[in-house]
Amino acid sequence: MAAPVLQVTDLVRRFGDHTAVDRVSFQIQPGETYGLLGPNGAGKTTTISMIAGLLTPDSGEVELLGEPLTSGRKSLIGLVPQDIALYPDLSALENLQFFGKLQNLHGEHLKQRIAHVLDVVGLTDRAKDRIDTYSGGMKRRANIAVGLLHEPQLLILDEPTVGVDPQSRNSILEAVDVLGGSGMAVLYTTHYMEEAERLCDRVGIIDSGRLIAEGTRDELMQRLGENSTVTFRVNGGAEQTHAWRVELAGMPGVSGVQGEDGQVAVVAANGPSLIAPAVQAAQSHGLDVVGVEVAEPDLEAVFLHLTGKALRD
C-alpha cells in the first residue's frame, strides 16, 4: 500500500505546563477527507500548526508521503488558516499573485491557477477589489483560494466556516466536497458536527489535546452502543435547572448532560427508561417538563457520550 499522505505520530506540544496537544496520532490516505472535530481550545489549530511546520512539536513526528516535512517540501501542503491571512490593502488577485510566487509558481501557469481557484471559490468577478471591501464570507473564500493555488497533496482547512453567512457557508462546503471528491486529501477541523458528518470520510474527535475516538461516522456511532440522547424541554429558573442537571448526571447509565435555558439533552445507556425518573426529579426541583424527545444518534451525541460535555457551549 502506498504511504499515507499524512502520518502523525504521538504529537505533543505544551505551552508552559498546559499540554495543548497530547500524544495525537492519526493518518490520512490519498483522496480521504479527514475531520478533526472538537470544541474551542481542544488543540485543533495547534495540531495543524505542527503539521504545517509552523510550530515545533515537543515530541512526536509528522510525515508527508512517508517523509518528514522539510522546508522544501512545504508545497505539499495547502494551509487555510483559521483566521483570514490576507493583506487587506491588496486585492484578491494581488494576494494570490504574491502567495503563488512564494510557492514558486509563475508566468502563464500562475495565471491559469489563479483563474481556476477564483472560479472554485466564486470570486472571479471581485478579484480586482481590495480584500478590505469584501464581506466576511468573501474573505473566507479568498482565504481558501490561496491554499488551493499550488495544487497541494494535502489541503488543511482550519474551521473555514466560522462566522460566515449561511450562503457563503454552503458554497464553502460545496467547494470542499468537490475538492475532496477530486482526489485531494483534506484535513478539515471544525466544531460543527454537521459539517464533519457531511464532508468527512473519517472523523477524529479531539478534546483537551487528546484524540479520544476515531473512525467513520458509523464506527463512531457504534461507540454510542445502546446509548441514546433524550432531550427535555422544561420551564423554570436557571438555578433549579442547574440543580436538576446535577442530579441527572448522577443517575445510573447517564454518560453526559448538556444544555441550559429550557432545553437539556441527556445521553444515557437506557434512554427511554430514564424519562420517568428524570421528569420526577424535575418536578421535585420545581421545574415543568413541557416536552420530551428521544433523538436520532449523531456525532454530537458521541461527543457528549465520550466527554460528558457539549461540543459547543
Binding site: 500548526s49 517540501r73 488558516p81 483566521d83 491588496l90 512564494l102
Partner: protein
C-alpha cells in the same frame, strides 16, 4: 532564496506606495517644512563665522600662516588671532571655532614629519566647525607640499628654504571659494535632510514593525507555510525598508535641489550619506522592534527615540550651542547633519565625509544584526 527576498521586499514596497500617509511623511512633509523654514530665514540667510587662529608654535612658519589667514577673511567668514588659550577663547563666545597651530609645527615641517593641526570648538556649530576644518585641511595640505618639497630639496642638496616659504604662504583654499560658500549654502539644505530623517524613523519603524504585525495578522505564518526560509523573510523586510528610506530621502534631496535650488553639495557624497543615514535608521528601528516586548511598545519607543535623536541631533536648532550641541555627535541624525553641512557649506567631497558614512553604516549594521537575531527568536519560532 533571493527571489523570495525580493518578492517580500517588493510586496512591502507595493503596500507602502498604497499608503498615503507614508508618501506624505516621507516626501511631502520634509519638503514643506524645509521650504517654510527656508522662507522664514529668508534668502538673506548669511554665513557669519569667526574662526580664531591660535599660534602655539611661535615660529616663523606658524606666524606666516597666521598672518596669511587673518588677512584672508571675507564674506561672512572672519579670521582673527587668539592670544589666550583656545578653550578659553571659545568660551568667551568671540569665536565659533579655533584652529590651533601646535607647538613644534615648524620643526615637524622642516624635518619632514607630518604636520597636525587641531580644530577646537567642534560641535558648537556644525557650519563653523566645517569651515574651520576645511581651512585647517587646506593649511595641512599646503604644509604637506612644503614637507615634500623640503625632503626633495634637501636630498638634492639644494636649499629648501624658499620652497617651504612659498608653500607656507600660499593662500588657503577656502578663501578662494568664499563667495561660493555663502552663495550656495541654503538653510533648506540643512532642514530638509534633518526633517526627512525624523520622519524616516517613523516610516522605517512602521516597516520594521510590520514583521510583528504580519505575524498577528496571520500573513507571516502563511508565508512561512510556503517553502520560504525565515532568513528570506527577515532579509526581504530589511531590503524593503532600506529601499523605501533611500528612495524617499533621495526624492526629498532631488526635489529641494532641482525644484527649490537648495544645493546639498557633491551629489555622490550626498547620496552616500543618505544611504548611510537610512542604514543607521533602519538598523536602529530593527533593534527597537526586536527588543520591544510588544508592537505598541515598539511604536512608542520609536517615537521617543526619533524625537530625542532629532532634537539632540540639531534638527530644529540650527547652530545651537551648549549642552545640545555637545550631544549632537552622539546621535545618528547629528552625525548625518554634520556630513550634510560639510557637503553643502564647506564644499566637502565624499572622502571628507567618509568617517560619518562609515560610522553611520557601522551603527546601522551593528544594530540590525542584534535586532534581526532578536526578531528571529521572537517572531519566527
Amino acid at each position: 532564496m533571493w527571489r523570495h527576498v525580493w518578492l517580500i521586499a517588493a510586496n512591502g514596497l507595493r503596500r507602502s506606495l498604497r499608503d498615503r500617509s507614508i508618501l506624505i511623511q516621507a516626501i511631502v512633509a520634509p519638503i514643506l517644512i524645509a521650504v517654510v523654514v527656508g522662507a522664514a530665514f529668508g534668502s538673506g540667510f548669511s554665513l557669519n563665522v569667526t574662526v580664531g587662529i591660535k599660534d602655539a608654535d611661535g615660529s616663523d612658519i606658524s606666524e606666516q600662516i597666521a598672518q596669511g589667514l587673518t588677512g584672508a577673511g571675507g564674506d561672512g567668514i572672519a579670521f582673527s588671532s587668539v592670544d589666550a588659550d583656545a578653550d578659553a577663547a571659545l568660551d568667551s563666545g568671540a569665536y565659533d571655532a579655533v584652529i590651533v597651530l601646535p607647538a613644534g609645527l615648524s620643526d615637524a615641517v622642516l624635518s619632514g614629519e607630518p604636520a597636525q593641526l587641531d580644530v577646537v570648538g567642534e560641535a558648537k556649530d556644525p557650519l563653523a566647525q566645517s569651515v574651520a576644518e576645511s581651512v585647517a585641511a587646506g593649511i595641512a595640505a599646503n604644509l604637506q607640499t612644503a614637507r615634500v618639497t623640503a625632503v626633495a630639496a634637501t636630498s638634492a642638496g639644494v636649499d629648501a628654504g624658499p620652497a617651504i616659504q612659498r608653500a607656507v604662504t600660499a593662500t588657503p583654499p577656502l578663501t578662494v571659494e568664499q563667495g561660493e560658500v555663502t552663495g550656495t549654502f541654503s538653510v533648506m539644505a540643512y532642514f530638509a535632510p534633518g526633517v526627512a530623517m525624523l520622519f524616516l524613523f517613523f516610516i522605517i519603524g512602521n516597516g520594521a514593525r510590520s514583521i510583528i504585525e504580519e505575524r498577528r495578522e496571520g500573513t507571516l505564518p502563511r508565508i512561512l507555510a510556503a517553502p520560504v526560509s525565515p532568513a528570506s523573510v527577515l532579509l526581504g523586510k530589511t531590503v524593503g525598508v532600506l529601499i523605501v528610506g533611500i528612495v524617499s530621502m533621495t526624492l526629498v534631496w532631488l526635489i529641494t535641489w532641482l525644484g527649490f535650488g537648495a544645493y546639498w553639495g557633491d551629489p555622490i557624497g550626498v547620496f552616500l550619506v543618505i544611504v548611510a543615514a537610512v542604514v543607521a535608521i533602519a538598523g536602529i528601528s530593527l533593534l527597537i522592534t526586536g527588543l520591544a516586548r510588544t508592537e505598541n511598545q515598539a511604536d512608542a519607543l520609536t517615537t521617543i527615540i526619533a524625537l530625542l535623536f532629532a532634537v539632540a541631533g540639531g534638527t530644529f536648532f540650527y547652530g545651537a550651542s551648549g549642552v545640545l550641541s555637545d550631544l549632537r555627535l552622539f546621535t545618528p541624525n547629528g552625525q548625518a547633519l554634520a556630513a550634510f553641512v560639510n557637503l553643502a557649506a564647506a564644499q566637502a567631497d565624499v572622502v571628507e565625509v567618509l568617517p560619518q558614512i562609515l560610522l553611520l553604516t557601522g551603527i546601522g549594521v551593528g544594530c540590525a544584526a542584534v535586532g534581526l537575531v532578536a526578531l528571529r527568536n521572537k517572531v519566527l519560532t
